[in-house]
Amino acid sequence: MARNKYDIDETLQTEFNISHIRRLARYIKPYRKDMAMVIILMTLASALGMLTPRILMDILDVYIPNGDIKGIVFISLVLLVICLIISVILRMKISVTSRLGQNMIHTIRSDIFEHLQELPFSYYDDKPHGKIQVRVVNYVNSLSDLLSNGIVNTITDLFSLIFIVAFMLSINVKLSIICLMGLPLLMILVFIIKKKQRVAWQRLSNKSSNLNAYIAESISGIRVTQSFTREKENIRIFNDLSGEYKSSWMKAVTLNFLLWPAINNISTWTTAAVYVIGIAWLNQGMAGISVGVLAAMSGYIGRFWQPVNTLAGFYNSLLTAISYMERIFETIDEPVLVKDKEDAYDMPPIIGAVEFKDVSFSYEDGIPILNNISFKVKPGDTIAIVGPTGAGKTTIINLISRFYNLDSGVITIDDVDISDVTIKSLRTQMGVMLQDSFIFSGTIMDNIRYGNMEAEDEKVIEAAKTVRAHDFIEGLENGYDTEVNERGTRLSVGQRQLISFARALLADPKILILDEATSSIDTETEILLQEGLKRLLKDRTSFIIAHRLSTIKNATCILYVDEGSIIEMGTHDELIEKKGLYHELYQSQYQFLA
C-alpha cells in the first residue's frame, strides 16, 4: 500500500460485511447471560409499564364511581410498588449495560493494541502515527454506546414490538395490516438514504483521521514549525482539514436527522388511515370491527411506533459505528508477517557466532536491497559495517533481530536458524541501539530500566556510569528521578543517545548492535565510553554502524557494503592495504587536512 499522509484519505481494504457482525457477536458472547438477564428484566419493566394504564382505567371506571377511597389508596400503593420495581430494574440495567459496554470496548481496544504490537516497522512507516492512534482510542470509544445501551435497547424494543404486533393482530388483523403498511414505506426510505449515509460516515471517519493526524504532527513538530515560521501555513492547512471535517459532519448528520421526521410523519399517516378506514368499516358494519376494537387499536398504534423510533435510532448509530468498526477490524486483520513458527522454540543462551548464508532481501517486490550476503562472525567479534548512505547497512542489522523475513538464505546464531526460534527469546538477548533514540515520558531511571525491568537501581546507575551518562544525570535537578518528556526534548541528542545506550547495556545483551549510536556524542565521551564497553563486551559479539572511522578502526572485521552487496571484508589494516573503497573512504577523512 502506498504511503499515506495527513491530507490523503485512507483506502479501505474490506467493506463492512456480515463477517464483521459475526465478529462483533464474538465480543458480546461472554456476556450473553448478563445480556439475556437485562433483556428479560427490561421486558418485565415494559410489561409493568403497560400495566399502569390498565390500573388507571380501573381507578377511573371502578373506584371513583364507587367512591372507594380505600381502594384508591390501595391501588396507589400497588402502583408505587410497581414504580419502585421499575426504578430498581432501571438501576440494574444501567449497571449491567455500562459494565458490558465498557468491558467489550476494553477487549476490542486490547485486541487492536496487542495486534499493533506485532505489526512490522513498515506498518508504522506507511502512515501518520495520528491515524493509528485515532483507531485505538477515538474510534473504539465511539462504539461504546452502541455496544452497551444500543444492543440491549434494540433487543428489548424488538420484543415489545413483537408483543404489540401480536396484540394488534389478536384484536383485528385487517386494521393491524394497515398499521403495518407504514413499515415497508419506512424501509424503502431507509434503503434509499442508506448508501448515502454509509458514504457520508466513511468520509467523516477519514476526515477525522486526517485531522487527528495533523494535530498530532503539529504538536510533535512544533519546534520545526516555529523555527521555520510556518505557523500561518499550518493554520491554513489545519483550517482546511477542520473545514472538511465540518462539512462532512454536516452531510452525515443531516442524513441521520432525516429519519426522525420521516418516521413521525409515516406513523401519523398510518394512524390517520386506521381511523378513517376503521370508521368506514364500522359504518359498513364489517365483521370484527367494533367501537371497542377501534379504541383498543388506537391505543396500540401509538405504542407500536415508539419502539420503531428507537430502533431507527439504533440503525443510525449502527451505520455510524460501522464506519469506525471496519477500520478497527481492518487493523486487527492486518497480516503479521514476522511471527513465530508453530514449532518455534526458545533461543538457547547465545554464545555469539553469527552467520549470514546467501541472504537476499527486499522491502518491496522487485527492488532488491540485499543480494546474496554471506559472512561469518566468531563469538566476541566486533563487526563494523561501513558504506554509503542507503547501501543497506541498517537492513543487515535489522535482519539479525529478525525485524523482517528473508527473501532467501539463512541467518544463524550459534548454528540455530533464527527463523526457527521465538522472536521474543531472540530479541531479548540482543541489545539494539537504533539511529533514532526514543525516550519515553517518565523518569530517566525508568527509561534506562526499559532494557531490563527487573534491574535494581544500582544496576541502572552502573549502566549509566559505563556509558558516561552518570555525571550529567546527577547534574539534573532531580538526578535519576528527573522527569523527561516524550522524545526527551529537554535532553540533547547526545544525552539521549547515552541514555538509550545505557538502556541497551542494561538488557545484558549477548549481541550488541549499534546503529550510528554515538553520532551525536562528543569524541572524548565516546572514547571513555568505548573503554568501558571494551571491558563489558569482551566476550560479546557486536555490530557497529558508524561514520567516524576512529570508532570503526579497531573492529575485528570491517564489512564495506554498497548497493546491497559486501564489496570488501577484512580488518582495518587488510583493507587499507587492499587500496579499495575502504581505503578511499579512510583517506577522505584526511583529505581536508591536506
Partner: protein, 585 residues
C-alpha cells in the same frame, strides 16, 4: 473569565440565530400537545360517541400539524447543529493558533497526547453540549412548565401537589451534578493518559520491538485501558444512583395525581372530567423528569471538558513579541552574545557567555555532550529567553525584534531531525511552501540529497513517513539541511547536521556550502573536527562556558580540549602519512 464564559464567548456571534432556534423549539414544545389531544378526541368523540363527521377535519389537522412540527423541529435542530459546527471550527482554530504560539517550555511540560485530547475528545464534549444539550434542556423545561401551567389552569390544587415534587427533583439534580463532576474529571484524565500512552507506543514502536518489550507494553496498556474503563464504570455507578430516582419521581407523579385526584373526585371537590384532562398532560411532566439525569450528565461532561480546554489555553507563552517590535525583512547577521547566562531552575546551563560574530562569518562550536551548544542557538532564536545578559542581532537586542522577523532570518537544521509525513518536496519546501521546484532541487543538490531522492520510487513526490522513518539517519539530516538552506536566511544554524552522514558525502556538502561563504552567517555545531576546521572562529564549549576560542590553527597550538579531540580523531595521522610514504603513494 471562567471556562463557561469562554465557551459562550464563541457563541455570541450566533446569538440571534440561537434565539430564533429557541423560538422554533418553543413552537414545537407548545404544539406537542396537539396530536395527543386529537387522538384523545378521536377515541372519545368519534369512536365512543359516534361523532363521525368531525373525523376528516381531525385527521387533516393531525397530518398537517405533524408535517409542520417535524419540519420546524428539523429546522431548529439543524440550526443548533450548524452553529455547533461553526463554533467548533472557530474554537479549534483558536486553540490551534494558541498551540502555534506556545513556547518550548509549554511543550516540555505538556504531553503530546494530552494536548491532542484537548483538540479531539474535549472538543467533542463541547460540541455535543452546543448541538444537543442546550435545546434539550430548554425543550424539557418548557414542556414541564407548559404542563404545569395547563394543570394549574384546570385545577390549581392538583398543580400544587405536583409542584411538591419539585424541591426533591431540584435537590436530586443538584446532588447528581455535584457528585458526578469529579467522576467526569477522572474520565478525562484517564482518557488523556490513555491517549498519551498509545501515542508514545506508536511513536516508539521501533524501540518496543528492538527490546522485545511487547508484553510489557501490553501489560502497561492494559493498566491504562483498565483505568479508563474503571473511571467510566465509576461514573456510571454514580449516575445509576440518580437516574432511577428521576424515573421514580416521574412515575410517582402519576400515582400522586390518581391518589389525590381520585380522593378529590370522590369527596366531590373536583369533577371526573378534570382528572381525565389533567392525566392527559401527565406525559409532559414525566418526559423531562426521565431526561433530567442524563442531561445533568451531559452538562457535567461538557463542563469538565470546557475547563480542561480553557485551562490549557489560559497558559500564556512567556516568549512573546515585545511592544513596538522591530520588523525587518532581512538582517545582516552581526551577532553578539554579551554575558549571557541561562538557568533552568537551579541548574545553570550557560554561564557568562560572550562572543561576537560578523556578518558572513562561519562559527564552529564544539564541546562535550550536554555542554550547552544547542542551548546557545535556542537562545539566539528566542526559543528560550536568556536569564541574564543579552544577545544582539545587528546591534538590536533579540528581545526587541518581532519573533517572526527574527526566526524568519534564521534557518536551522536541528540536531533532532523532525520530518513530516509529507512528500520529500513538501518537506524541503517546509519553510517556503510556495517556492518553485527548481529551488527545491537546487537546495537538495547543495545538501547532496538530490541523487538519493531521485533513486526513491517516486523521486521528490515520495511520501516519507512521520519523523522520516524509512530514511537513514544521514538521509534525514540531508533533507533537513536542504530545508534550512532553501529558506535562504541571513543566518544558518547547522546543529550536528552531518553526524550521520559519511565522510565523503560530508566533504561534498562542505564544498557546496563553501560556494555561498560570506552570504550568510553560519553556525556549525559538530563533533567532527572535519566539520568545523575551516570556520573563522571556533568556540569550545564545556559545562556551559566558552573555554577556548580561536581558529583551527590557533586552537591546535593551544594544546587544550580542541587539540585533544583532534588527536583522538586523527591521532594516527602521522602514522598514516608514514604508511602512505612506505607504500609509495
Amino acid at each position: 473569565m471562567t471556562a463557561m464564559q469562554w465557551v459562550f464567548s464563541f457563541l455570541k456571534k450566533y446569538r440571534k440565530r440561537l434565539i430564533f432556534a429557541m423560538f422554533l423549539a418553543t413552537i414545537t414544545a407548545v404544539t406537542a400537545i396537539i396530536n395527543p389531544h386529537i387522538s384523545g378526541t378521536v377515541v372519545d368523540d368519534v369512536i365512543m360517541n359516534g361523532n363521525h363527521k368531525i373525523l376528516p377535519k381531525l385527521v387533516l389537522i393531525m397530518v398537517l400539524s405533524t408535517l409542520i412540527r417535524t419540519t420546524i423541529r428539523f429546522w431548529f435542530v439543524m440550526i443548533f447543529e450548524t452553529t455547533s459546527q461553526k463554533m467548533l471550527f472557530t474554537m479549534r482554530d483558536y486553540v490551534y493558533r494558541k498551540f502555534m504560539r506556545q513556547d518550548f517550555n509549554f511543550y516540555n511540560t505538556n504531553r503530546t497526547g494530552d494536548l491532542m485530547s484537548r483538540q479531539t475528545g474535549d472538543m467533542e464534549a463541547i460540541r455535543h453540549f452546543v448541538a444537543y444539550v442546550i435545546y434539550s434542556v430548554y425543550e424539557n423545561v418548557l414542556l414541564f412548565v407548559v404542563a404545569l401551567v395547563m394543570i394549574f389552569i384546570v385545577e390549581y390544587r392538583l398543580a400544587l401537589c405536583m409542584i411538591a415534587v419539585m424541591p426533591l427533583t431540584i435537590y436530586v439534580t443538584y446532588k447528581q451534578l455535584i457528585s458526578v463532576k469529579p467522576a467526569f474529571h477522572n474520565i478525562r484524565q484517564h482518557f488523556s493518559s490513555l491517549n498519551t500512552f498509545v501515542q508514545e507506543n506508536v511513536s516508539g514502536n521501533r524501540v518496543v520491538k528492538a527490546f522485545a518489550k511487547e508484553d510489557y507494553e501490553i501489560a502497561k496498556f492494559n493498566r491504562e485501558n483498565d483505568g479508563f474503563r474503571d473511571a467510566e464504570l465509576n461514573a456510571s455507578r454514580i449516575w445509576m444512583k440518580y437516574v432511577p430516582v428521576f424515573e421514580f419521581l416521574a412515575n410517582a407523579l402519576t400515582v400522586i395525581l390518581y391518589l389525590v385526584g381520585g380522593i378529590m373526585v370522590v369527596t366531590g371537590s373536583m369533577s371526573l372530567g378534570k382528572l381525565v384532562q389533567v392525566s392527559g398532560y401527565l406525559w409532559m411532566l414525566n418526559l423531562p423528569l426521565r431526561q433530567a439525569g442524563w442531561l445533568a450528565n451531559d452538562y457535567q461532561r461538557f463542563v469538565t471538558s470546557a475547563e480542561k480546554v480553557y485551562s490549557t489555553i489560559s497558559i500564556e507563552p512567556t516568549i512573546t513579541d515585545p511592544e513596538d517590535a522591530i520588523v525587518r525583512e532581512r538582517f545582516k547577521g552581526d551577532i553578539e552574545f554579551s554575558k549571557v547566562s541561562y538557568n533552568i531552575g537551579e541548574e545553570r546551563i550557560l554561564k557568562d557567555i560572550s562572543f561576537k560574530v560578523h556578518a558572513g562569518q562561519t562559527i564552529g562550536i564544539i564541546g562535550s555532550t550536554g555542554s550547552g551548544k544547542t542551548t546557545l542557538m535556542n537562545l539566539l532564536c528566542r526559543f528560550y529567553d536568556v536569564s541574564s545578559g543579552e544577545i544582539t542581532l545587528d546591534g538590536i537586542n533579540v528581545k526587541n525584534i518581532e519573533l517572526y522577523s527574527l526566526r524568519d532570518n534564521i534557518g536551522i537544521a536541528m540536531q533532532d531531525v523532525f520530518l513530516f509525513s509529507d512528500t520529500i518536496e513538501g518537506n524541503i519546501a517546509f519553510g517556503r511552501p510556495d517556492c518553485s521546484m527548481e529551488e527545491v532541487i537546487a537546495a537538495a543538490k547543495v545538501a547532496n540529497a538530490h541523487d538519493f531522492i531521485l533513486q526513491m520510487p517516486e523521486g521528490y513526490d515520495t511520501i516519507i513517513g512521520e519523523r522520516g522513518v524509512g530514511l537513514s539517519g544521514g538521509q534525514k539530516q540531508r533533507i533537513s539541511l536542504a530545508r534550512a538552506l532553501l529558506k535562504n536566511p541571513s543566518i544558518i544554524v547547522l546543529d550536528d547536521t552531518t553526524s550521520a552522514v559519511d565522510m565523503e558525502t560530508e566533504t561534498l556538502i562542505q564544498e557546496e556550502l563553501t560556494k555561498t561563504i560570506g552570504k550568510h552567517t553560519v553556525f556549525v555545531i559538530a563533533h567532527r573536527i572535519s566539520s568545523i576546521k575551516d570556520a573563522d572562529q571556533i568556540l569550545v564549549v564545556e559545562d556551559g562556558k566558552i573555554v577556548e576560542s580561536g581558529n583551527h590553527d590557533s586552537l591546535l597550538a593551544r594544546k587544550g580540549y580542541y587539540h585533544r579531540v583532534f588527536h583522538h580523531q586523527y591521532g594516527d595521522f602521522d602514522q598514516y602519512t608514514i604508511l602512505q610514504k612506505e607504500m609509495g603513494v
